[in-house]
């Protein structure tokens, strides 16, 4: 009968913030993990060429790899000093096994090395600092506006609010540095209308800066919906959205550090939360720190977890092992303990039921498609109709599945349909 119980609770139509106390508390720093695993590939098809060998001593901040074509060679650095244990394939948080450099700490706590002076200035400095931006696009000079997504879509993440509240001056300084380096006339920072505190903090940090404009948006935007955000903010049709470039807010303090202190990008703030974490907090973790160590640092027991997620509770990637590392693109960790996961323990009411067309998915959908209808088409293999109804407009934010009272895995059905080869946009066009 447990399915009736939520009747008496306030059922949220948007996920409640579960990042809890991490929201505006100062971040803690996690200096010296015992091991770091630095993946030599963060996005598919862009591997770093490794420059170290096993059993070599490396210092924190030492360059260990480079990737990309000649003018834009992006560096990756050792985030702690120690001895390279191996260069082997390891699971990465993207869900694939990639070649990774495993460095074992010798117990020394050292500040990272500065970037050598011959690295140059401007974009070259940022490349040598290892900040993964879209350099070819930014340097081409066609960019007219820089967009920063300052909203936090995921309920369990608090990195961006933390950055604007606590490190607003660094964020602004980093953004200003980017504007100068790439000679871009202006920048827009999108902030959630429901978080006026961030706007105040940003305005205080801005001072008299005119090129950076805060703008309030109606709802938080998932990373996958940023193109839509550009259309909404810049008013799409005239192509101004096409001349916008995105910058991840969490990289901006690193940009500032690189320009100001010639510091490499070896640590980033992440939010650690979830039911397996007694002390949810924002943590400045070294790149490559295994999730298990991060969770242990936050008071959680990695052995008690039942599910470990890189990123948000709505769009993150579920991990098969706790030995995956924090990467430059890891916004946070969600560690969950769920009870009664076994099939025998499952309530009859928490199984998938028939769709009653209650339209909750339609009301919540940020891109205004009809997830229930498209999922029904996909299940009946009527993919042409599904595409016509906006299958590829879906930004995979997961809200439809979150609210579905029939517990239909809508996001999963749509994702599966989108991954079909015959439906790929290219296949239909040719």
């Amino acid at each position: 009968m447990d399915g009736f119980l939520p009747t008496f609770l306030r059922r949220k139509q948007t996920p409640p913030r579960s990042s809890g106390a991490a929201y505006d508390r100062p971040a803690e720093t996690f200096l010296n993990p015992r091991t770091v695993i630095i993946p030599l590939q963060e996005k598919p098809g862009e591997p770093y060429a490794c420059q170290v060998k096993p059993r070599e001593e490396v210092a924190a901040g030492q360059k260990i790899g480079e990737r990309g074509e000649a003018p834009f060679r992006l560096a990756v650095h050792a985030s702690i000093s120690g001895k390279v244990k191996e260069v082997e394939t390891h699971p990465s948080p993207q869900g694939v096994n990639v070649a990774s450099v495993v460095i074992e700490s010798q117990g020394k706590e050292e500040a990272p090395l500065k970037i050598p002076a011959e690295a140059g200035t401007g974009a070259d400095l940022l490349l040598q600092a290892g900040i993964p931006l879209d350099y070819s696009r930014l340097s081409a000079g066609r960019t007219e506006v820089l967009l920063v997504n300052g909203t936090e879509f995921e309920p369990n993440l608090a990195v961006r609010p933390y950055l604007f509240l606590r490190e607003g001056d660094r964020v602004v300084a980093g953004l200003r540095a980017l504007l100068e380096i790439f000679s871009i006339p202006r920048a827009l920072v999108c902030l959630d209308r429901k978080q006026p505190g961030l706007l105040w903090a940003l305005e205080r940090a801005l001072g008299g800066e005119k090129r950076i404009v805060p703008c309030r948006v109606r709802q938080a935007i998932p990373p996958s919906g940023e193109a839509g955000m550009a259309r909404e903010v810049l008013g799409g049709k005239d192509g101004s959205a096409a001349r916008a470039a995105f910058v991840e807010a969490a990289f901006l303090p690193a940009v500032w550090a690189a320009v100001q202190e010639r510091a490499p990008f070896v640590e980033r703030p992440i939010t650690v939360s979830g039911s397996a974490v007694p002390r949810p907090l924002n943590l400045k973790a070294r790149i490559g720190t295994p999730f298990a160590e991060v969770i242990g640092r936050c008071g959680g027991d990695p052995e008690r977890m039942t599910q470990l997620v890189m990123g948000g509770a709505l769009t993150g990637i579920s991990q098969p092992t706790a030995q995956v590392p924090v990467t430059h693109g890891t916004p946070g960790i969600l560690a969950l303990v769920s009870f009664s996961m076994g099939k025998g323990h499952q309530s009859k009411m928490y199984v998938e039921g028939p769709c009653t067309r209650c339209a909750k998915c339609v009301d919540r959908c940020p891109v205004s498609i009809l997830p229930a209808l498209i999922a029904a088409y996909c299940r009946k293999k009527m993919f042409a109709e599904a595409v016509e109804k906006g299958l590829f407009v879906c930004i995979d934010c997961g809200l439809c599945t979150y609210v579905c009272p029939a517990r239909i895995p809508l996001a999963e059905i749509l994702r599966e349909a989108r991954s079909r080869k015959e439906l790929r946009p290219g296949a239909a066009g040719s």
């Binding site: 009747t7 009653t356 979150y402």
Partner: protein, 356 residues
């Protein structure tokens, strides 16, 4: 692979696709919400229509659940009949616990006059569940609102029973003559005053005689669930607060009726609070299965219901048009969904196809 991860073996982690959180809501919650919202309506029904209406509602719900259970047992291949009760509550495909039959049965009882024989709402519920819902494939697949389907069925089959109305129940004389013999359950049959509904009075005499306060509180003749606008508004407010229904259908429905009736020179307040309009707008038209899923579609649905209601009330032979208007718009729901959910999207989809 001599990495530290092999040295100790933690719990196996569950790997699944996002999202990893749900808001815990189930279909049962939605149905149970309707029950909570119907509590004031049930109370008003007992106060206005007398204690006999308790019996009507109980029997109607019982018949609905029994019909649902029997039909699902027949539909389930290899159903084991012996541990009957246990199977009913736990079998995967026999889902009487989803609460939809409970709701349908209650709404059928709301839609009968207080003076019908006890078997009438039972027959109505059985028809609602069998011909109104299960024949289309069960929950989520029916075209028409089952309760209104049953109401029109009863109206066609037993018009005399379905159109004999009573004045509000006289509790003072009831307490005076109370004796706990079963016959007093139908005390109305002995000395009840037959009466017409306010809409019927207006249809025949062309003038509106009922005071507004009586209309609002429900001190009038009518079906047992539809008399008290106050109770229905309380229930509707609860449904809106819980998010079980959205504002689109009730607001546009009531608004259209108000605007249309004043256009025809009628009294909009009278039209809003008389007949089954309130019950229809908050409990019937908002039935999620048979109303459109797009927001724009729900607005169109509400406006259409309002227009048809006023047209039937003003120019039709019947005094009341709520049930027919909702049924007609139910039939239009697939069309509304088709034409409100997609012109922009089709363009977007085409663009995303061309883009790469």
């Amino acid at each position: 692979m001599n990495s530290p991860k092999d040295s100790r073996m933690p719990n196996p982690l569950i790997v699944s696709g996002p999202p990893y959180i749900r808001n815990g809501e189930t279909n049962h919650c939605l149905m149970f919400d309707v029950y909570i919202a119907a509590l004031p309506v049930m109370l008003a029904a007992v106060l206005v229509a007398g204690p006999y209406s308790i019996l009507l509602m109980a029997l109607s719900v019982l018949a609905a659940v029994a019909t649902e259970a029997i039909i699902q047992m027949i539909k389930t291949p290899g159903y084991r009949f012996r541990p009957l009760v246990y199977n009913l509550l736990t079998a995967d495909r026999v889902t009487i616990l989803d609460g939809s039959a409970l709701v349908t049965g209650l709404l059928v009882a709301f839609n009968v006059p207080p003076q019908v024989p006890f078997w009438l709402p039972m027959v109505g519920s059985a028809v609602a569940i069998s011909l109104g819902k299960q024949i289309f494939g069960g929950l989520g697949h029916n075209i028409f609102n089952p309760a209104l389907f049953a109401r029109t069925f009863l109206l066609a089959a037993w018009p005399a029973h379905m159109t004999s109305w009573l004045a509000p129940f006289d509790w003072s004389s009831y307490w005076a003559h109370l004796s706990w013999s079963p016959s007093t359950w139908r005390i109305q049959a002995v000395d009840a005053v037959s009466s017409a509904t306010p809409l019927g009075v207006m249809k025949e005499q062309g003038s509106m005689l009922t005071p507004y306060l009586n209309l609002f509180l429900g001190n009038i003749g009518g079906c047992i669930g539809e008399t008290s606008a106050l109770a229905i508004l309380l229930g509707g407010a609860y449904l809106l607060y819980k998010g079980t229904i959205t504002w689109h259908i009730p607001v546009t429905y009531l608004g259209t009726v108000a605007v249309m009736s004043s256009l025809f020179g009628k009294d909009p307040v009278f039209h809003l609070f008389s007949g089954g309009l309130m019950l229809g707008a908050f409990f019937m038209a908002t039935d999620v299965v048979t109303s459109p899923i797009t927001k724009m579609g729900r607005v169109v649905f509400g406006v259409g219901c309002g227009v048809i209601t006023v047209l039937i009330r003003s120019f039709g032979a019947l005094p009341e048009g709520v049930s027919y208007s909702i049924l007609l718009m139910n039939a239009c729901t697939p069309l509304i969904d088709r034409y409100t959910g997609g012109t922009v999207l089709r363009r977007e989809a085409a663009r995303s196809l061309k883009a790469s």
